[in-house]
Symmetry: D2
Subunit: 335 residues, 4 copies
């Protein structure tokens, strides 16, 4: 089987990570070219023998490119996805697909019409710890899920500039946890209730956003769940989940940088969890790209679909509406 | 200082536990007498030289009794508390004080008028693990609380007969967790949103009750919280709390019967947590009684007041209303 | 069945613990009387209606005493055991039985001749954690033991006065671990090699003793083992064991006073293990006394025999000889 | 600064790992060429644009090669090291340097005379967990080390063919733990006592080897230690260390493949530790190579010297002698 030939569009932090994984760690894939509107960014690439462009269209024009990774800014996704689909390229796209349901639906229609494969980057599904939690659900160890609790807290808030454009905490942070809730349960969320507050940084409140939130989930099966988010732990990335069911309870704890415990008269001490997504999820970033390459190589549906990307946005919208109106919101109210 | 002379009213399981603690483990207290309308129950007592009655009024008539422990059935609390207060006895009362706000308010008024000390049995506040979590909040290690998550699940549902009279899961189970949320945070809850389902046993649903619930809390300080309850884990008592704040996160895990880990090709294995409240909370049952005896001996206010007992019931009522109307309910709506 | 009527001889710390357990927690036993040459000590008793003496012979003379607990100083054990056996009393004796093999053998002979039951207080066998480790060996989860590692370290050295008379670290500390090694493995030790040093306190070295030791064990079955001891951790009692075998590995960790973990930017922190034997082994002190009372009540052999007491002393002697001569010593060299 | 240009000699499993790390993960190094007497092996390389040879001398002849990695079979080390040193190449060599002290001393002399840098592959020093344990010693958290315990057990014995030529368990397995003991303590071992047995597989005994061992260490500082080894856990790689000192105790536990705990009525369960060195030590294999490349790039002494390699072999010889003669052996007896 020939290798899947990939071009990466957008060579910021995430594009660089994908590039190295494609080039070095995925035998079914090959990194052919990369682009960024900022040529400085693209030149930081740590892989050799790759064609570099400042225009993604150069990538789309190449016949020897089978698939593209879209890691450019969110506002460019819609346009690039459409052009890539038109050019017959398979697509791996960072989340969110787009910021409005209309745009997402348009994009997914084009993708479907052109028959290209499309995968959204919900990387956490490929984290070995969360995968193992999911396995315990899938293989029946947990039984029917009754309660799902997700803790997802960042070590520190992003810059204010980012906060202004990220769409708010439900779209920027909780969106991942909505996908995690669906992934872990294998179930659909039918209603959400969201509350929250500004407890970390007043400037976040001045932007009309929240920094501390609690969301309640009701699933189709009747299971209930909760997601709690914070923009700042101070200590590190706090990423834990729990699926409690009729037969058992699977808990996923944080990953630590080492397994050393120091005991002295003050107590027993271990190092804080891994700091943030770069430290915590390298295997997840690798795993999602490997899954994408393998899906194309084997002509199979990628494991995270455009529909998955759409639903997570719908749930974020429902959460926002619930918070704004301080009432539970049916997901069907959104669309 | 003379010992506090105590009579125990109601010698079921809880009365027996209190009796032994008073007699054997609390140097400031002395067990003088005990009563139960069922003389068989009172005769099961494992302490010697204690006067036994089938009528609690015999206890209230004795001049050499300083205080009573009321561990009889809930429907008798109101009457006994009033008579005990009239007789000038200090009172330790199992929760709930009574089942209506009117009754509670009447009782608390009598208690106040007569100037006797009154303590409600929220035993978990005296569990060494939850006390330590509270200490981390009190001494500032956690900073300002932002998020409080409480997991509280029983190993197996009670008998249907009990379920019929217990008032429903919010009054029977969540009531403890409402108190825990107040205790841990040192804050008041101003709004609740409750949802839930019948996932464990259909017969619970037929009683109009729930067996799986999720409650969201909003605190006066702006903190948010969640309580998740289940009537059945299958594995044992699952009692964990977490207080996440501006400076750190205090997590309280389950207690295990031993500290042995067995590793074999199937994995590493440890025994399930302690089975239920009798196994998990012996030190808490002791600690609450010790605190009561010491409060009387030192003429101090007991650490859990009638007001604490009242608020927990109000919060349970708010949760019930929230569930019934599927909307967030302000605590001030209740009274 | 009548209760086993017990008199306690020696009312120091250990005698007091045994007295309360007999009186309050063991339904098959009854505390009849207690003695100490120091009447102040015996009067500290926290149990009522017990006859108190300053002469243990008063206890031995009573017909209504079935058994005695000998918790007086080691140098009195030989004499008291002999007299108690002559008086037909069953005997529970703190370790060591005596300080010379001759004395031990004499004592055991008298005990056997008089047909009284005799139990040595190796309390750790009754600790829930070590019992669970033993269970994993007994029920085959560990398979054939291959390697046994025992860590046994005190929080702080005892007073110099005690150190002068305790017989040295191998007789005072390692003796417990030798018994633990036999208990866990169900096997006999045939050879030991002991080394050590003075690293904690020079004054211990000036007494000709060690404060830090490492002993290698060879078992009859061919298994090997190690025991490491220290007189001072600074943090608390460090009591852990591990049995590694053909099918798995059972590890027993320290017990903590609570299950709370605090995570802040410096790391995750839990409280130090329980401080010393009083804190760590209350259930073991109870368990050994319960086992003794039940053995007498049921006319069975107690679970820790005089022979067990003798072997632990022999192993301590072998360790001392090994250290003195810096060579492995066969246990059969001792006697 | 120019990249360090490296050729890898011996492209078995370890050579392949080193090649990929050099090519992809170490910015200061560049993989120029690779060789193996078996051309099939060298062609398995997963790095592109590398010159491949079946004769290592082709590598030594190239002027554009600064350093070599020797990952060929142990019996070839002596010859290749000498030739590489003569050719002025810096050398990274898998352990052991050679199998006799004479050969080691000759080799180290040549290396010194030629002034090339020389590093021995004690990879475990670069494992994040063991590095953290060492840090706790180095930064004073542990105080003066008093007791060092090392557990090092393989998941399953190697093939008999390998067992025949590996030099015995002390040279093949314990040798790593001797280095770990020196690394953790920063101290030298002056005496060892070794015992052991054949409990895993009789055929290992028939080869005159052991499969289960216990070694006692005495350090120059007066600290004591133990190393326990087994050829077979059945469950996975069991690699733990503990340094107990005057101020605290640093324990290093096993690494697990994920952080999920499943609780059901049978207990709480986590997955077995990472299976073997390939799974457990990828970061250590990377770290040692990075350290080597950086040492050359910065013209510094590599962190693991030829002397370190020599001492580990001397200690293995002392252990063998101790076992054979069943007595403690001074390291100075060996040379």
């Amino acid at each position: 089987m020939d290798k899947v030939r990939i071009g990466v569009i957008g060579m910021g932090r995430q594009g660089q990570i994908h590039s190295k994984n494609i080039a070095y760690r995925i035998p079914t894939a090959e990194l052919v070219c990369a682009s960024d509107i900022n040529m400085e960014f693209v030149q930081r690439i740590e892989v050799e023998n790759v064609d570099l462009y400042d225009d993604y269209r150069k990538i789309l024009e190449r016949d020897d490119v089978d698939a593209v990774v879209i890691a450019s800014s969110t506002d460019t996704h819609e346009q690039i996805i459409k052009e890539a689909a038109e050019a017959g390229k398979h697509i791996f796209c960072e989340k969110p697909i787009a910021t409005t349901l209309e745009a997402i639906d348009e994009v997914l229609e084009v993708v479907e019409k052109k028959g290209v494969k499309f995968m959204v980057a919900f990387n956490r599904r490929f984290d070995p710890t969360f995968k193992r939690a999911r396995e315990h659900v899938e293989n029946g160890n947990v039984g029917s899920p009754h309660i799902i609790n997700i803790t997802s807290r960042d070590p520190a808030p992003p810059h204010l500039e980012y906060l202004k454009v990220c769409g708010g905490i439900f779209f920027d942070t909780t969106v991942h946890d909505f996908d995690m809730a669906r992934y872990l349960s294998g179930d659909e969320i039918v209603e959400v209730y969201a509350t929250g507050n500004v407890l970390v940084d007043e400037r976040i409140g001045e932007l009309g956003d929240l920094d501390t939130t609690m969301v309640v989930l009701k699933f189709e099966s009747g299971a209930v769940g909760s997601i709690n988010n914070s923009r700042k732990t101070g200590y590190s990335y706090d990423q834990r989940v729990e699926v409690f069911g009729s037969k058992g309870c699977a808990q996923a704890f944080n990953e630590r940088p080492n397994q050393v415990e120091l005991t002295n008269p003050e107590g027993s001490h271990i190092d804080v969890p891994l700091y943030f997504n770069i430290e915590r999820y390298p295997e997840a970033f690798f795993g999602e790209m490997e899954a994408f390459a393998n899906a194309i190589a084997n002509n199979e549906e990628p494991p995270v679909t455009g529909q998955d990307g759409r639903i997570a946005v719908v749930l974020s919208m429902a959460a926002k509406k619930s918070y704004d109106e301080n009432r539970p919101v049916r997901v069907s109210e959104i669309g």
